[in-house]
């Protein structure tokens, strides 16, 4: 018991002294932004006092947005993946109804004002063969389920939305309906196209009255040779659009009980349509993109008469992709005429509200909810520092030249000082004005994120404000074959340290259609493309592996080496070829195929001056059967290990096994003996040897791995004990260090000693990452994003595999705490206090200019930024440090010492006279 008391004291003490902030520090170093994801369904509510837009998204979020500001009024994140996939959402004033799930549909009704859940009930998906699809709609306070079965019938079931009881069920006989029939809902009708020869028939069923009408479209479409598309036009009326593929115009039909009426005009097929009700009539809103402009118009549905007060044209922001009208509402304006509010959803996942005709009211960049790559970069130096840097640019000149430069630059500085005082100085550059300059502690940085939606953003890390954005067309990120996660390799080719050359980054993406590699080369501070006109370079081959060279060329630009599918090597830019050739003898590449489990190592030693040649030098096959490689984790390339060993209780040193070429490979599979198992291999990817391997039975995803310094940490869900377990492995060379200068994979086939320990974490893990600092002196902490939205900071001491069950005095001397199987989750260690971060996909850590401080950026559905100081801010004065008091004390002491000196000399003089 005494031990546990000590441990408890130690624990609370250890946690208290490193983390947690005071109440007045909330929001000082951190910010959070909440998102909802790509819009799927929208419904505008204009009746209540605070007008809202209700949305349901592909991230399984149901939310209400304030229509004036675009801010989230309330938000609910439903279950993950298929289980929470939203199939339908609509509202009817008093309730918002959502249907979510895949095999079992969960129907929920929400209170529109506060987002409270009012009722919840489930419907099982009917098990029918030849099922085409299931559609849902809300009509007169009832929820309808439309089940279409190929070559058979259509069942329509009505449910009471609050109780979930079946109200009625109708069966419509439709034996002609094929598996590929295009049927659309245009509430309260279901319209299907049926092509018989060259004649197109439109079947329309009234879903409430159960009457079927079949009419030919030949009257206005003539002979149909190509295929025909049928789409619903959203809005208050049952309207569908019919178009022939390849035709430039389309027809609009208003469905009625006895068939349909044709809208008098044909519309361009590219036009986005929506039917909004206005007083007693309906208006067809039309939006058309024309070379950077958005042309809007409106006309009455019944007569086709164009409404002059709804015609408009506005400049479309280049950062936004083309959009569809998700919802619209029209109302009379205060002065006269009408005005509409249109909710747009764009290709790049943005949600925008337009007041029609006129301007954008707000834009939500929902692309930030699907971040695929993150990098945090230093800002450039200020103009004055840049002038000083210029001085050292001339490397060739001797000391006389240097002296002249020094004088010249100081005269220039003096001139600019005088000019600034007189107010005549030249205006600062754009970056300077915005305050985007490096600060003395290197805490102000630029977060560059690439979204799966094909958008790149530059975000100020202190304010969270978007500084720049670039939309990339026809590209998509790479998809991890095993886990299905999006990722885009991000290369920092040149940092901001190489003034006057601008910083340069490259993002590797692939073409939407051909799958061939595309590089986006840009300046990370301004977002300006640095190659071609749009920065996109088509590589013309499929990329298998890519990495950055260690050294830069003459312009300090580091080249990117790309391995294509035919094992040919390419360098971008061309000018880096010579650097690559010079280093070729020591460059090794490896590739991993998740499905076959084949790892292949290549050497570039055979390269000639003209071209780089990759030769296979090792091959290993990790998996067989149903096993797959699900993760390959290498160490951070910028990591520095400060301490080479660990001092033990007996004052001897246990040297760390620090192999920069070590990569952890995770394979997962299922077999009847071991059930769900996972294997972890530590592989030296230069020599291709398996350094260590470990296997866990009855362990399954989510698996998260952190690999750093001389240790590996991974978490998995134990099926046997039904809990999350964390295993840590630490690798040591032993009491002697094999090579004190540099590590060589080829020359050192040594077997490390592996310490291991397992812990229980009472929580589900979404993501993990280690902290990183400039010189690696500060101790490492592990940041764990939990499923409940908390980010937990665990010191490495708690995860240390050397924690012993019974403590010897020697162990105590070493500073290891006794083993406890369960890791605590103290609320002081939650770095995001009450700022819940949902659906975390990744954590990015980066060193700041201060050794003690590490910058943390958490992304997923939400974004959260903060900074942590794992060993406390030992190199910073506390912000409540009393400068006044210390100055007063110092002054006081100086004054007293003078006075006492005077007094003492006077006393000595008096004594001498005695």
């Amino acid at each position: 018991m005494k031990y546990s008391v000590t441990v408890f004291v130690l624990l609370t003490w250890a946690f208290r002294w490193s983390f947690c902030i005071y109440e007045d520090q909330i929001g000082k170093f951190d910010w959070r932004q909440t998102y909802i994801g790509k819009l799927k369904f929208a419904y505008l509510d204009t009746i209540s006092t605070t007008k809202k837009a209700f949305v349901a998204t592909e991230e399984n979020v149901v939310a209400a947005l304030n229509l004036k500001t675009g801010q989230i009024v309330w938000r609910h994140v439903l279950e993950k993946a298929d289980q929470g996939e939203i199939q339908f959402m609509d509202g009817d004033g008093d309730d918002i109804v959502t249907v979510s799930g895949r095999n079992i549909f969960v129907v929920r009704t929400w209170d529109p004002h506060n987002g409270f859940l009012k009722s919840e009930w489930t419907v099982a998906q009917p098990l029918i063969r030849r099922l085409i699809d299931i559609k849902w709609f809300l009509y007169q306070k009832q929820l309808f389920q439309v089940v279409s079965v190929a070559l058979s019938d259509i069942t329509i079931t009505a449910y009471n939305i609050s109780a979930g009881t079946k109200v009625s069920s109708d069966l419509i006989h439709a034996p002609w309906m094929a598996q590929d029939s295009r049927c659309v809902l245009a509430v309260p009708y279901l319209a299907c196209l049926d092509k018989v020869g060259q004649e197109v028939l439109l079947h329309s069923f009234s879903l409430t009255g159960a009457g079927t009408q079949t009419k030919s479209l030949s009257a206005f479409m003539g002979e149909v040779k190509t295929s025909v598309t049928l789409e619903t036009v959203g809005g208050s009326q049952p309207v569908v659009e019919v178009a022939m593929v390849g035709n430039s115009s389309k027809h609009i039909l208003l469905l009625e009980a006895n068939g349909f009426t044709l809208y008098p005009h044909q519309l361009p097929s590219a036009a986005k349509l929506y039917v909004a009700s206005y007083e007693k009539s309906s208006i067809v809103l039309q939006a058309l993109y024309m070379e950077g402009w958005l042309v809007l118009s409106g006309s009455t549905l019944e007569t086709g008469k164009e409404l002059s007060d709804l015609a408009g044209k506005l400049k479309y922001p280049s950062g936004l992709g083309e959009g569809n009208i998700a919802a619209a509402v029209c109302s009379p304006k205060k002065d006269k005429g009408k005005g509409c509010r249109i909710l747009l959803v764009t290709d790049d996942h943005a949600i925008a509200l337009m007041s029609h005709p006129g301007k954008f009211v707000w834009v939500r960049e929902e692309a930030l909810a699907s971040i695929a790559a993150v990098e945090i970069l230093d800002l450039p130096v200020s103009d004055t520092d840049a002038a000083i840097e210029k001085e050292f640019d001339h490397k060739e000149t001797g000391f006389v030249g240097m002296f002249v430069h020094r004088l010249a630059s100081q005269i220039l500085q003096l001139r600019s000082l005088v000019l600034t005082i007189l107010g005549l100085g030249e205006p600062p550059s754009a970056g300077q004005r915005a305050g985007l300059v490096r600060d003395e502690f290197g805490l102000h940085k630029m977060i560059v994120v690439a979204s799966s939606a094909g958008k790149v953003f530059g975000i100020d890390n202190l304010s969270g404000e978007i500084i720049w954005q670039q939309r990339l067309e026809n590209v998509k990120p790479y998809v991890d074959q095993a886990t299905g996660k999006n990722h885009a390799p991000f290369f920092v080719q040149r940092t901001t340290r190489h003034f006057p050359s601008p910083a340069q980054c490259a993002l590797l993406l692939r073409h939407k259609v051909t799958d061939e590699g595309v590089l986006f080369v840009f300046n990370p501070i301004t977002g300006q493309p640095l190659a071609e006109s749009d920065g996109l370079i088509s590589l013309g081959y499929k990329v298998k592996q890519s990495f950055l060279l260690h050294e830069g060329n003459k312009e300090s630009l580091r080249g990117i080496l790309l391995l294509d599918n035919e094992d040919n090597l390419h360098v971008y830019p061309e000018s880096a070829q010579s650097v690559a050739v010079a280093m070729a003898a020591t460059i090794f590449i490896f590739t991993a195929d998740p499905n076959s489990g084949l790892l292949v190592g290549y050497s570039l030693a055979l390269s000639t001056k003209q071209n780089l040649i990759a030769t296979r030098v090792w091959e290993i096959k990790l998996t067989h059967g149903s096993q797959r490689i699900t993760a390959v984790i290498s160490k951070s390339s910028i990591e520095k290990v400060h301490s080479q060993g660990r001092v033990l209780g007996d004052r001897s040193v246990l040297y760390k096994y620090i192999n920069p070429n070590l990569v952890a490979v995770l394979t997962q599979g299922f077999d009847p003996v071991h059930k769900q198992f996972l294997n972890i291999y530590l592989i030296d990817v230069v020599s291709g040897s398996v350094i260590f391997s470990i296997s866990h039975k009855r362990a399954r995803e989510p698996v998260h791995i952190v690999h750093s310094e001389n240790w590996l940490l991974y978490s998995y869900f134990s099926d046997k004990s039904r809990r999350t377990e964390i295993v840590t492995l630490e690798l040591y060379e032993g009491k002697v260090q094999s090579n004190t200068t540099a590590f060589s994979s080829v020359a050192a086939p040594l077997q490390p000693i592996v310490d291991r320990q397992a812990y229980i974490l009472p929580g589900m893990i979404e993501s993990m990452k280690e902290t990183i600092t400039e010189k690696g002196i500060t101790s490492k902490h592990i940041l764990v994003a939990l499923a409940n939205g908390a980010i937990l900071e665990i010191p490495w001491v708690f995860l240390d595999p050397r924690r012993p069950i019974t403590v010897t005095s020697e162990m105590r001397e070493e500073g290891v705490i006794p083993y406890m199987p369960e890791l605590p989750i103290p609320s002081e260690a939650i770095i995001n206090y009450n700022q819940t971060v949902q659906r975390v996909r990744g954590i990015h850590t980066t060193p700041s200019g201060l050794e003690s401080t590490c910058l943390v950026f958490v992304y997923g559905l939400d974004m959260f930024y903060t900074r942590v100081a794992p060993s406390k801010t030992f190199d910073l004065l506390k912000e409540d440090f009393d400068h006044f008091l210390i100055t007063a004390v110092l002054l006081g002491l100086t004054v007293t010492s003078y006075i006492t000196k005077k007094l003492a000399s006077r006393k000595a003089l008096k004594q001498a006279w005695k």
């Binding site: 018991m1 005494k2 031990y3 546990s4 050497s603 030693a605 055979l606 040649i613 030769t615 296979r616 030098v617 090792w618 091959e619 290993i620 096959k621 990790l622 067989h624 077999d671 071991h674 198992f677 294997n679 972890i680 291999y681 592989i683 020599s687 291709g688 040897s689 398996v690 260590f692 391997s693 470990i694 296997s695 866990h696 039975k697 362990a699 134990s718 004990s721 377990e725 295993v727 080829v746 020359a747 050192a748 086939p749 077997q751 000693i753 592996v754 310490d755 291991r756 320990q757 397992a758 812990y759 229980i760 069950i805 019974t806 005095s809 105590r812 083993y819 406890m820 199987p821 369960e822």
Partner: protein, 234 residues
């Protein structure tokens, strides 16, 4: 002419691998066909080197059958070593179900020559006993550019290690609970042996004394440099 070079019995040495896997649930026979290449080109040609028979993967008993190097091969190896080229080895492993898997590994030609053809083959197995990797290294692994005479490049002196996969650790709750139980019992018996260090035991007495000494030392104006020593002596 084939020649038996050596048969090695390899154990899991705890000082190298931490600990031996608790139970190796499998056992069997493994046969590796080795091919090597001295070519310094992208697509090298491989020639037969010999076979390695692992009679029991549990014990690691091995029979090796390897041809001595021909004069031509010796020359090739030396030429390759001079160019700082890579000696490549291909191993074909017949799995229990008859499928053949090939593995590729390499060492620096110079280190193979300078170690007088003393190489180590490590065969890594996964949790079911299937081979996942065959990797080669030399002992000693040095490249100093020494001159090697032909008689040293006669026979391969191969050592084979079989490396098993280890069982992952699980949280040791039982031992922890046992420890707590023991402590509780000891306390009930009233004989908790306090084995903490002197400082840990009496820090609450030492700290005030030290503070007192420091304060009194600072308060004493005529102390000067000697105060610290005087305080400690008291």
């Amino acid at each position: 002419m084939f020649r038996y070079v050596c048969g090695f019995l390899v154990f899991y040495t705890p000082w190298i691998f931490g600990f031996q896997p608790d139970i190796v649930e499998y056992d069997g026979h493994l046969s590796l066909n080795l091919q090597h290449s001295f070519d310094h080109v992208k697509e090298p040609q491989f020639f037969d080197r010999g076979t390695v028979d692992i009679q029991s993967i549990r014990t690691g008993a091995v029979t090796l059958k390897q041809k001595p190097l021909s004069v031509e091969d010796k020359q090739k190896l030396k030429a390759l070593a001079e160019k700082d080229g890579l000696y490549r080895l291909r191993a074909f492993v017949q799995a229990l179900d008859g499928r053949e898997t090939s593995f590729l590994t390499f060492v620096k030609a110079c280190s193979l020559a300078e170690s007088h053809l003393s190489d180590i083959l490590t065969v890594s197995l996964d949790h079911t006993g299937s081979v996942i990797a065959v990797s080669m290294s030399t002992s000693p692994a040095i490249c100093e550019g020494r001159h090697i005479s032909h008689e040293h490049l006669q026979h391969f002196n191969t050592t084979v290690f079989v490396k098993h996969m280890e069982q992952g650790p699980v949280p040791d709750t039982a031992a922890y609970i046992q420890k707590l139980e023991k402590e509780r019992e000891a306390r009930e018996r009233g004989e908790t042996k306090d084995n903490r260090s002197f400082l840990a035991k009496y820090w609450m007495y030492i700290v005030p004394v030290v503070i007192f000494v420091v304060l009194s030392g600072a308060a004493n104006p005529d102390g000067g440099a000697g105060t610290g020593g005087g305080g400690a002596g008291r």
